[in-house]
């Protein structure tokens, strides 16, 4: 397996882009990434594009060809990738595999999505699933998990709220974030209840946005003398769908983390910063545990003592996470990696983490039979 490097990153601001199309957002992200890498479109040998909901929301398929042709990329293999919230990170893994396997020396990876809905409407996805027909909604699934975590480990509503407070603080330092506003614990707790115990500010917003990466082989990276960040691990796996599993943790994520640490020859203690899938406050707390940042059941305490703040022992979601930066589903996994590359290069502005050398990105996708469909973990190293 060959070493793979990220040599260019770019993204749009996440938020409401009512007047902009998928290809318009995609173009901005791809242009930023190409210019950041100092690469012309004709040097790209393959393209991988993550998008989850365009067929359902915009009635648009083949988003990858649309977006990449916007920046003059054609006549090469282009792959459209759908893996729910892990669509973008799965596209990254496809691009990584292509270079690691020696097929190409330079590829582009993008994630593009528009999910902002009319005010008050909930995203209507998964209509074919029995649970959805019976009234299941995403915040409800995570509320069940939160209830169970509180019951089993004594995790408190205040600890849940602190995740949102921390991530909104980080988001206020990130010009690419959808929300630039800070919240207090009281404001999070007193916002309208969506699914008990999750309140409105405990849930990530629907968002529009795009992010892109340029990946290349070691040979190319050395020749170009660019600021390269190495992909030390790339893992994708699927769920157990075990009907009777303990829902206070994700077996799929523990399995992915184990694989990623092994591939990178690193452990949780070696990680300087983490971007996780905080679609809901409870998710981030469980990700701490599943990724081994703390023991099972200790996630509430970890946020409580401030360990995951920007100045803490192990900063989590310095970008603001999905909660504050926003969650354009297929773009989120790519944007996490954009943030980590900025942090490892020392370009993260007011939210820069000192001496960051190793970063981990985790995202999961989709609900299936009480489990998750997909989980990806990437570990990035600045050598």
């Amino acid at each position: 397996m060959k070493d793979v490097f990220i040599i260019g990153v770019g993204m749009t601001q996440f938020g409401k882009h009512t007047d902009r199309s998928l290809r318009d957002l995609g173009r901005e992200a791809c242009l930023n990434a190409l210019r950041d890498a100092g690469v012309t479109p004709k040097k790209i040998e393959a393209g991988y594009c993550g998008n989850a909901l365009a067929p359902a929301i915009q009635g648009e398929t083949g988003v990858g060809q649309n977006v990449f042709w916007e920046v003059g990329i054609n006549e090469i293999p282009i792959v459209n990738v759908e893996n729910a919230c892990a669509s973008g990170s799965t596209a990254l893994r496809e691009g990584w595999m292509a270079i690691a396997g020696g097929f190409y020396d330079m590829v582009i990876v993008a994630g593009v999505e528009k999910t902002v809905m009319p005010k008050g409407a909930m995203l209507d996805v998964g209509a074919a699933e029995l649970e959805t027909k019976l009234g299941d909604v995403f915040p409800g699934q995570f509320a069940l998990i939160a209830q169970k975590h509180m019951e089993r480990y004594g995790t408190t509503r205040e600890q849940l709220a602190k995740v949102s407070v921390k991530n909104h603080f980080n988001g206020s330092l990130n010009p690419y974030a959808q929300f630039q506003k800070q919240f207090t614990v009281e404001e999070v707790l007193n916002s309208p209840v969506v699914a008990d115990p999750l309140t409105l500010f405990s849930c990530c917003p629907n968002s529009d946005g795009a992010a892109a990466l340029i990946l290349c082989s070691k040979k190319k990276a050395q020749k170009m003398k660019v600021r390269a960040v190495r992909i030390a691990a790339s893992i994708l796996t699927s769920g157990t769908y075990n009907n009777q599993r303990d829902i206070t943790g994700w077996e799929i994520e523990k399995r992915a983390a184990e694989g990623a640490y092994q591939m990178a020859s690193l452990g949780p203690k070696d990680i300087d910063l983490v971007e996780v899938h905080d679609a809901f406050t409870i998710s981030e707390i469980i990700h701490y545990e599943d990724l081994g940042l703390c023991a099972p059941g200790e996630g509430g305490r970890l946020i409580g003592e401030g360990a995951t703040e920007l100045s803490g022992r192990i900063p989590v979601n310095p970008s603001g996470g999905l909660l504050a930066k926003g969650h354009p589903v297929g773009a989120s996994g790519v944007a996490q990696v954009v943030e980590i590359v900025w942090q490892l290069r020392g370009e993260a502005g007011k939210r820069q983490i000192k001496k960051a050398r190793v970063g981990l990105a985790q995202i999961m996708g989709g609900y299936k039979e009480g489990d998750t469909r997909a989980c990806t973990i990437h570990i990035l190293v600045k050598d």
């Binding site: 209507d124 027909k133 299941d136 409800g140 209830q147 169970k148 019951e151 699914a195 009480g370």
Partner: protein, 147 residues
Amino acid sequence: MEKASPNQTNQIWALVEEGLFEYPIADNQVPALLANRCTNCGKTFFPKRPLCPYCFDKGELEEIRLDRRGIIYACTVIHRNSPTGIIAPYAYGYVDIPVNKVRVFSLFEGSDPSSFTTGQEVELVVEPIKVDNQGKQIIGYKFKHIS
């Protein structure tokens, strides 16, 4: 797939999904969810599966009716109307069926959605869960407190 059939009051109803339960319920029958069980590993599946994912060709699936009684594993109250037309507030969660060693996702029935908690014993009812946009009653299943 929703199948419309006329009932006695000449109203039109449809099932939330085919094959989940017997309906209409005969006079001498209690409502039951329809599941199947692998003859090789003994695992029970609700909804029914065409083959056992653990045993593949080694096991056969036999049809069973699940026990009506269950224990709440987890529950929550939703405070927004669902995109599929369930009116808030409503309660749902997971119910473990001890007799069959299977967990079922279900709505909870009752005027007080916040009255459901983990560990409570509940029992199955088959009844309308909503009215669709053509005025059709959609028949589903719920669990309720044991009276």
